[in-house]
Symmetry: C2
Subunit: 219 residues, 2 copies
Amino acid sequence: MKLYTYFRSSASYRVRIALNLKGIQYDTESVHLLKSGGQQNSVSYRALSPLGLVPCLETDAGGHLTQSLAIIEYLEEVYPDAPLLPVSPGDRARVRGIAQTISCDIHPLNNLRVLNFLTGKFGLSVEDKEGWYSHWLTEGLLAIERMLIDDPRTGRFCHGNTPGLADCCLIPQVFNARRFNCSLERMPTIQRICLACEELISFHAASPVNQPDAEPENN
Amino acid sequence: MKLYTYFRSSASYRVRIALNLKGIQYDTESVHLLKSGGQQNSVSYRALSPLGLVPCLETDAGGHLTQSLAIIEYLEEVYPDAPLLPVSPGDRARVRGIAQTISCDIHPLNNLRVLNFLTGKFGLSVEDKEGWYSHWLTEGLLAIERMLIDDPRTGRFCHGNTPGLADCCLIPQVFNARRFNCSLERMPTIQRICLACEELISFHAASPVNQPDAEPENN
């Protein structure tokens, strides 16, 4: 099993956490999103991932899976140990709802290709770009905070007392928030869950700074 | 079971198709995204859907589920008849990957709150907004076309010869493409699958124009 990944890609980060939580061994191949016009745009990579996004998982059977949440659901089905989703359909929908709020309504607005479009095609300033980033991130994370704080199913982690799919998505998003100096002040539950996750080696080992292709922050 | 919906919301449209394909009876409550500053922003609706997005499904048990794909996965688990996902994990990942390419990498960039931000906060022109819309839609749908045309698992529908989750996402996105006059010329497989879907009453009945809250196009 091989993961096409980029250390700073938060969608890749989600899958790395999931692989670690399940104790699955995997190889990595770095797809550098900035070098040589973006290695994700090469013909060979686009043959695996037509939209040129990371991550992409090469399965042991030789298939290539795209989309981080589709990959994690695949891992959940093939490696059911250390489940990342709860048992009842209503609870599963809750966890998927939190994960998708991040993966559909926060992250896609703030990824590299979109930010480049704003500053490139539209000629917006760095300040405008940062305002855009902060707006969607803060609005989205405040909604997540409400989904967490208002629901008794929230435990030490997003759902109960074992880490799962929602945590796999939350931690990378918070990593980005910190990187862009977005305040988490009004999000005490998110902060508390992050602390709990950061104590776990599975999360720690998946962090961008601990990847083989990691670079210093100012790169 | 009650669906909070808006006729033109393509995420709501996905869930309406899924409910119809499974033959599930449901009530609807319209959440008008434009009237009175957006009914999705009311305190009462935000209590159900913290980010103020449609759809939201009220289950028979009284729970409230958000995120269209989380809702459809819930329906799939509770009402397994007329399955919307194939059986093998690899095939399920493929279908979810197509669905998420639409729900994560096309749709969130082009929904109402984002377009309003571009023309409002950034003061971009209608032309710029339409260029943005068309860019992400075309790039995304061309990737989907490749995922479909290059894979022998594509049949009459996105996966095999029965409609499923990927079709539930594709048809609403194509509806939007046509509404915004985006060309589908380079997407013969998508066009062919749309024709197959349009022959089915489940898709037809879910269409924006056939909703109780539908309005004329120029509204």
